[in-house]
Symmetry: C4
Subunit: 392 residues, 4 copies
């Protein structure tokens, strides 16, 4: 009798690198494929009873599934099935952890990203020209900030692997638009990301509070650029004074387009220039973010992310910075809220238009307008089916 | 009955990392081997009817094949066969996308490379000495430019994986000469690369237009080095004033030779120092380009690439820089057009002469002169055969 | 007859990359899983007689096992079984080497880490403003110190692979608390790490002794910050003068929390953002340490490690620095001893609370208080069993 | 009937990553194990007639084998067997290429290493303080030199993979002493490396000749440190004036020890901290060399390599630098010739003493003195056997 192919497959599951059951792998790939609708459906369907060999048919409990659906998340939490034990499901906190798995991941990812990013600005800005530093000229230069944000994004992606590590609502949005990530994911992701930016920048503020007092020249003095000793620029971005409104918008727009275009390339499994695994992705993002900081970071501070700018801005206003945080640069604050969405959508559209060959609205008749309608119908159908199964 | 070996092979195709049919793998390797003639022929031949198990025998439609042949591209587009569906082939834009697959890839690769590269020069140059920067001394130093070009090339390679990611006509040329890349590929690649350089630098100009006005000291003032406030150096290279003509040429020549020598080493699957996969290639190129900028970037600005220099030069002339963009440095502009070709051919020749053991003209009698004649005969034969099949 | 699955497995053992017996692999994974108790038990049990095919049942000799147990180490040394030959076991020094395998690894790991780290501070500080340097401004800037510590940690991890490469007693401690590393490992690891810090910084002192004389302005003059020409800051950390006691503690606390949180993420095999192999770990730690230096390194010098700070401090006191090494900064020296432990435990707790789904006290009733008691009972049981086998 | 295990093995040989015959793999591993004697013997023995399945028994022709033996190289050239065709062996130059394979690889490896390394010093030194640079302060800082040497070593290793990529006679020497690399390899490797250093620095000189004239202040003026405008420091190292002779030696000694210790760790397949493949080695060496430059590069310029220092020194003397290249720093020139050998041997000894468990003289009675005698006897025996086969 011949050896069945799947036994060969199974013989590998003893290996550490692949000791996850096929269904988990499936989940992983769902993430890698950026939550393609059909992939995301698959586990739901398989969980209704087909029972693939060796996988317990009922993973996440029915109650949790409903909670997760209500939050807009996929009913099945992205959790290692070996860890999804009965014992876990009886603990209150474990239930919370499973229910809020992706929001927790996004929260911590953005929090760590902002801690490193804002931390690097704080250190370079506050120590400007300090002659007692080794080297005699402060604790870092502009380049340290490129390092800080690059490292922050890289480590944030490592931490937030279970949610897809979007870390940016504009990127979530573009994935909803072009990569079949369900729109109902967006709100919870957005809230988690925004909170992450708020908390992360708050920790940086707490850490540097005595240094800020020292730099501003007195306890509790807080100023906003273009004041001479302003420290508000540690937390959120303020444009260079000579940049026109149009240039402000264009600068954020073009950097966001580049960001999305290249992320789509790096996540495209059909692009021969990219390794088929996701292992290189965090490192590549380090270089991408470093590059954006070194090449498009001067005029407007390359926010390219609502939560990285608005979250810390809110925090800085809350802890006592004056209302110039909103009015500075001609009420600049709305640009890093709006431009990243426009830029990311445009960048994603360009990639799909010129290079992507997979499933995307752009690769369908009328560049996706028909597809969008069709997808909506399909989603409604899917929702109805889930309702019958009592999941949503 | 024993399990046939290829069933074991197939059992793996469920894995995400290798979920492409054998023929695709073949295609990939064709790229890895830099379009060796015999490999490029293979899919054509197999598509005439042998029909490997599980692969549809007729992928790209006959009409598209003719168009692609007419453009000098390989009749079969490097496209994931799973994505090459009937649905695609009925859409007008998808047909364009398949027909112009490699030119699109080269265009975007060069465009992104130049955006990061020129962007970094713009940021460092225009913010020189700005004391309001964090750190008090501008938004970057010379090293940021090494980062910018290194990252640009790295990300350009990721994006342009489907065309081989040459990004440089001198590298395409040397691959035609020594690595059996058909010469008829060269023109379309060249046009796409040149357009990429033009457009990429144009975007940088648009992004920094208000900053350039501010730096030059007035709206619309545009000057060329060695003027005191010249900004033309953002886009293309101008030599240091003390460098003689011969040194100008030698500097570009030697940097191009190094570039090609090391790329050939990195792409040589028989060199034991190099990983057998292409995964490390983009990162290694980052270091290579960074190194060239740090070690040979001063005298002439390490253009080492016609399209990176001539494209942006043309753009800068078009948007209003004076005619000194051509005459500066003793009509220096032709050196970064010619020297990279000479340097790359020389560097490739050296590698093949001393280290390469694979198929190359240099490894044949009379260092390839005979081979070239033979290859031409072979190519004519191949062309004739294709004509009979109605492909060209 | 079918091919047994494990034969397929074995057919791979000819490959270089996996030419270690299954038991070795097991050992490796034990390291990867950070010495989970159940995994660490496994080899012990298998060594009592089950005798997996192809593995000699009695590896480490009984005498060595007792010695190792007495030192608090696992009875079985983490040594390639092919190298654990009879010949080895007869040599006195080889016995010492096997008995002290993990302490040796930790010692050299920390020693190398401190050599690079302190060496970079020495070079940047002592050459501050030297105009004869290439570039005219010293041999490095603050950023070199980020490089130095990042590279030191990376290379220390490569060297200390056989002990788990903790290199930091706070990290060892947190692994004991949350990852089932037996507590009796802690003392020997701690001693080895502390000696490594002492010796490593001593080598740096010996290397730069004439430069320190030159910088301080006379043979044997040694001063401590905030003296103008102080060099004590080369070896251990001294806080910025304006930082309050609370901020000092908070700065070290927050950096240690980040360190532990991210290391737990990078070592979590269930986190989808992390490659399943350990290959990326040293590189990721380079970026993590670089980032901590660039973002949280100013106020207190990011010691985040008792042995990196206390070891060199002791060394500098021993070689003649005045008693201000202890009293400077308001007897600051105790903060980098205590804060890293608090911070690492807190950071590890946060990761386990919000993201980790594997076995950890935090994922059990009462957030682990019950678990701790249970674990202690289990450990006592395990100890009793080992005693019966005459191992401890 | 069951599937034989080796058929499964073979079914993989279609994969690109492993499309080399088993013997080639063997060869590769020989390199990875740094030419362990027993591995190096293996192909010789198998070539006497056992004829492993699928491998042609007579690869390198008898004449070439004799030539290679006479040069001290292994009779079998490390060449992809698919490329070792009849056609090759009939061409004169291909014979030369096969005969001198390792020397060619070492030559180009060192040449590229020195081109990047010396090139970076040249650019930083000659452009010191140039205000027309983007950023306003020269084309690079001291850190660029760390980048240059790190990248040079990394790319040199990629290029010189077929010879083991030692690039440093002290490393070759230590491998002969501790890793069973035959001593008769040393002379040819040494000559090739020295020539590489000479030629590489000569190319840098040719490239920067007009800039050197400009910097020194006149055509043909060449001075040596500590002259104010000295440029000799571009090519080889000169110590800081305040460093004593003992500190000079110690600085080179300790950096060389670190170099060798860490290389041995990175090449130790039994060290769990290191990936089992060689893919990470070039990148790790980049960080190692960068670290040595940032941490131990100030006092004596971290030559740590005879050919990197003596080769360029000879070149600079030959092209017209005065005799101070030898006498400067109290006839410093001999220190970077001697200290690297002492340091590398000491560093290798330490690694073998404390961590290495594989075959090394240190792991044998009397710390290898007996072993050395034994090995010599064995080598004589091996030589005698080869003579009978007419190889040497």
């Amino acid at each position: 009798m011949a050896l069945p192919a799947n036994e060969v497959e199974n013989s590998k599951t003893k290996d550490f690198a692949s000791n996850r059951s096929p269904q988990t792998e499936h989940h992983e790939h769902a993430h890698e494929a950026q939550f393609g609708e059909q992939l995301v459906n698959a586990p739901t369907e398989s969980s209704t009873g087909t029972g693939a060999a060796g996988v317990e048919p009922q993973r996440t409990s029915a109650g949790l599934k409903k909670t997760r659906s209500a939050l807009g998340l996929h009913p099945e939490a992205p959790i290692d099935p070996e860890h999804d034990t009965k014992q876990h499901q009886d603990l209150f906190w474990s239930k919370v952890k499973i229910a809020l798995r992706e929001p927790f991941a996004e929260f911590w990812g953005v929090c760590i990203m902002v801690m490193f990013g804002d931390g690097s600005v704080a250190q370079v800005l506050l120590s400007t020209g300090q002659t007692t530093a080794p080297g005699g000229n402060g604790f870092g230069a502009y380049q340290s900030i490129s390092w800080g944000w690059g490292i922050g994004v890289m480590l944030g992606i490592y931490v937030a692997g279970d949610s897809g590590a979007y870390l940016n609502p504009a990127i979530t949005f573009t994935n909803c638009l072009f990569r079949q990530l369900p729109w109902r994911r967006f709100p919870m992701y957005f809230i988690a990301q925004l909170l992450g930016g708020f908390v992360g920048s708050g920790i940086v503020y707490a850490n540097y509070i005595s240094a800020i007092d020292w730099f501003e020249g007195g306890h509790g003095i807080r100023t906003v650029p273009p004041a001479a000793k302003a420290t508000a620029g540690i937390f959120c971005t303020y444009p260079q004074p000579f940049v026109t409104k149009a240039s402000q918008f264009f600068s954020e727009f073009i950097a966001s387009s580049l960001l999305m275009f290249i992320i789509f390339a790096l996540k495209d499994p059909s692009n021969n220039g990219v390794g088929k695994s996701n292992k290189w992705f965090p490192l590549a993002l380090f270089f991408l973010i470093f590059g954006l900081g070194a090449c498009f970071g001067w005029e407007t501070g390359y926010a390219i992310n609502l939560v990285r700018d608005f979250g810390p801005r809110l925090m800085s206003y809350a802890v006592g910075y004056p209302s110039e945080v909103w009015s500075a640069g001609g009420y600049y604050f709305w640009i890093p809220m709006v431009a990243p969405f426009c830029g990311c959508v445009f960048g994603g559209f360009l990639y799909d238009l010129f290079i992507y060959t997979g499933e995307t609205p752009v690769n369908s008749p009328w560049f996706g307008l028909k597809y969008l309608l069709h997808a909506q119908k399909q989603r409604r159908e899917h929702l109805r089916r889930n309702k019958e199964e009592g999941l949503v």
